[in-house]
């Protein structure tokens, strides 16, 4: 039976590429810090430049390693698909995500950013209540329970809000933002 060789996984090529781009941006900013040595001694720009060069070399080593692993996995896949899976596991790469997982992930990132933006504007209570509701929706909490599920979501969100408020504001007297829009 013919087996298709496994494709490159997310961590194998895209991550090193992202690191490469980020390092280039980092290095270009480091080069604007002025002279690397001042009076014969390393200046503020020295360390970032050393780190950038080290990162390029390390990324090269990662890529060579990835290509070697990919080749080994392809060879293993021709003999036994299970061995190929074991090799993926040994490299520490996570299995691919389903579409639903991607949607949940993007939703959590979006609501978390909205929470950061709304934290001062809406105040702790309202923003945290809405954030908790959003997170529960992302976890599909109580979705199969109809109206009871909705009530449960509201109660849990309010409880989380209350617990966190009691902990930070009441127990330790930390001042949390109040409703900024209504001030």
């Amino acid at each position: 039976m013919h087996t298709n060789p496994p494709r490159f996984q997310f961590g194998e090529l895209i991550l090193p590429l992202i690191f490469f781009i980020a390092t280039t941006v980092y290095l270009s900013d480091a080069l604007q810090n002025g002279a690397i040595f001042r009076f014969g001694l390393p200046s503020a720009g020295f360390m970032p430049i050393v780190l950038s060069v080290a990162m390029y070399l390390a990324l090269l080593a990662v890529l060579i390693g990835q290509l070697g692993h990919h080749r080994a996995r392809n060879d293993a896949a021709l003999h036994s698909p299970k061995t190929a899976e074991e090799l993926t596991d040994l490299e520490g790469l996570a299995p691919s995500l389903s579409l639903g997982a991607h949607v949940a992930m993007v939703a959590v990132i979006a609501i978390s950013f909205l929470y950061v933006l709304a934290f001062r504007q809406l105040g702790f209570v309202l923003s945290t209540f809405l954030y908790s509701l959003g997170l529960q929706a992302a976890f599909q909490f109580g979705w199969s329970r109809g109206v009871f599920g909705i009530v449960l979501n509201l109660v849990v969100a309010a409880s989380i809000c209350l617990i966190v408020y009691l902990f930070f504001a009441v127990l330790f007297g930390i001042q949390l933002p109040r409703i900024g829009l209504l001030k």
């Binding site: 900013d29 997982a101 959590v108 929470y115 950061v116 934290f119 992302a138 976890f139 599909q140 989380i160």
Partner: protein
């Protein structure tokens, strides 16, 4: 010598007073709870309690601080084991090994071992503090700037080679941590750098935001992507099927025997001496001890797969560090880590001047604090008996409820550490990055070590080079630096060269057969 011994006994007598003992127990519980909650630390607990010390007598203040310190070092292991989120940075290695055991249904064993190791480490650290403090403080002075640079290099080296899956990915993760640490104001020249044109980055990325992002927020993404594949429900663990009682958390002789007196003592001594070095802290103690345990282990195959010995090494060392880090603080006013820096503030607020005189003329004032360290270490397994079943229930809480609560506490925790919404956003960005790095097999431990020790590495390097007008020869001529570089060579031989040669030899023998 006899006078010193009598002062120590007097310290125990002082903490036996009901009011002082109440402060000790209260402080221990506060420290444990703070460290167990991701985003909060024992340091933060002492900092928050600092204003209260104005209205307390100096002995009670110091006793409470010591108990928070010990509880804070231990508490991080609870959520590290149960939900894979280290409450404190020093519990990272514990999370690494402990959560695997938790998912295997052996969470009680992991918690029990962590508590036992924390107790042993805490007790040995406190005894060493009481007996060796003045001598050790003198010896630590010999580790000068080039030696501190090489010590940090050594810490990086051991943690990178500990990642057997891919050393190059370990290096990349460390470099990412080092790069993030350079954002903001240059620690040596106070010049603004690496802000990419965003004024908000001038304040840099706060340690709290990085820890919260790397562990709490990224775990939220792991759970939410997992739940959409498995469906929502309680955290997936066989642990929830067992009815937990205090008996499961009662320390067994077999637990102790498995590690052995010699190894416990070795881990504690490592933790103590790392603590004595100013700036090293509990994380370095745990990392170095873990690496040494792995190098010299009779069961190396258990590492990265739920090793009790790995948990014991990290927990013994980070609790022994408590005693060590107080040595330079009490003797020279140089704090060993951030928590002892805050305790230094308590001493100064109460009109005490740390220095050789404090350890001679006013030794009786600090002995209750030393005794409190020892007694609060003994409290660790006792509190586990009562609270252990509750810790285990953390995993039977509905996943949506548990992680929504953790996410909110983490995000608000990132805010309260600096009262900056920017740091909340930074924690989120770090969390997203950490999630993808973990998926790609890049170790978070290396990233965090790079971030925490990066500024120190740079400062020590630049200061060393300033001594020799830019010549790196100082790292090879300074005896303290040579000592740590020698250790790197030893570790390289035992952890990289020897396994590589033996695997090559085995492969050769297999082929010839």
């Amino acid at each position: 010598m006899i006078e010193q011994f009598l002062h120590v006994l007097g310290g125990f007598q002082t903490i036996a007073e009901p009011a002082v003992f109440g402060y000790l127990v209260g402080g221990f519980l506060i420290g444990t709870i703070f460290a167990a909650i991701p985003g909060l630390t024992g340091t933060l607990a002492i900092a928050l309690i600092l204003p209260l010390t104005y209205s307390m007598d100096v002995t009670s203040s110091l006793v409470m601080c010591a108990a928070i310190f010990m509880g804070g070092q231990y508490g991080g292991s609870i959520t590290a084991i149960t939900v894979n989120i280290p409450g404190a940075p020093c519990a990272i290695m514990t999370a690494y090994e402990g959560n695997i055991l938790m998912r295997r249904g052996e969470g009680a064993v992991a918690l029990r071992s962590a508590a036992l190791a924390s107790m042993v480490g805490g007790v040995i650290g406190a005894i060493l503090l009481m007996t060796l403090a003045p001598v050790i403080a003198q010896a630590a002075l010999y580790v000068q700037t080039p030696g501190k640079f090489s010590l940090i290099l050594f810490a990086f080296f051991v943690i990178i080679i500990s990642n057997e899956r891919s050393i190059s990915k370990g290096i990349v993760a460390t470099l990412v941590g080092l790069m993030v640490a350079t954002i903001g104001i240059d620690v040596a020249s106070s010049k603004v750098r690496q802000t990419f044109g965003f004024p908000a980055l001038i304040e840099g990325i706060d340690l709290m935001a990085v820890i919260i992002g790397a562990f709490a927020i990224s775990e939220l993404f792991v759970q939410v992507t997992g739940s959409s594949m498995e469906g929502s429900g309680a955290t997936n663990s066989p642990s929830k099927k067992v009815k937990w009682s205090w008996r499961h958390f009662l320390p067994r002789w077999a637990d102790y025997h498995m590690i052995g007196t010699y190894r416990y003592f070795k881990f504690a001594v490592i933790g103590y001496f790392v603590g004595v070095l100013p700036g090293a802290g509990g994380s370095s103690a745990a990392f170095v001890s873990y690496a040494e345990a792995k190098r010299s282990s009779l069961r190396p195959e258990e590492y990265n797969n739920g090793s009790i010995e790995g948990i014991a090494a990290a927990e013994t060392a980070n609790n022994a560090m408590c005693g060590g880090s107080l040595v330079p603080m009490l003797t020279f006013g140089i704090p060993g880590d951030t928590t002892s820096a805050v305790i230094l503030g308590v001493l100064i607020i109460n009109g005490l001047q740390p220095g050789p005189q404090l350890m001679t003329d006013q030794f009786a004032i600090v002995t209750p604090m030393m005794a409190a360290l020892l007694v609060s270490a003994l409290l660790i397994p006792i509190t586990l008996l009562f609270l252990g079943p509750w810790y285990m229930r953390l995993v039977s809480i509905n996943k949506a409820v548990l992680f929504s609560t953790i996410a909110v506490i983490a995000m608000v925790g990132a805010y309260v550490s600096t009262f900056s919404v920017f740091q909340m956003g930074a924690a989120l960005v770090v969390g997203i990055g950490a999630y993808f790095m973990q998926r790609g097999g890049y170790p978070m431990v290396s990233f965090l070590l790079g971030f925490i020790l990066g500024p120190d590495l740079e400062v020590y390097m630049r200061r060393s080079l300033a001594i020799t007008d830019g010549s790196p020869s100082i790292f090879f001529t300074s005896p303290d630096s040579l000592f740590f570089l020698g250790l790197i060579a030893v570790f390289f031989y035992f952890m990289v060269m020897r396994p590589w040669v033996s695997s090559k030899r085995k492969r050769h023998q297999k082929n010839s057969v």
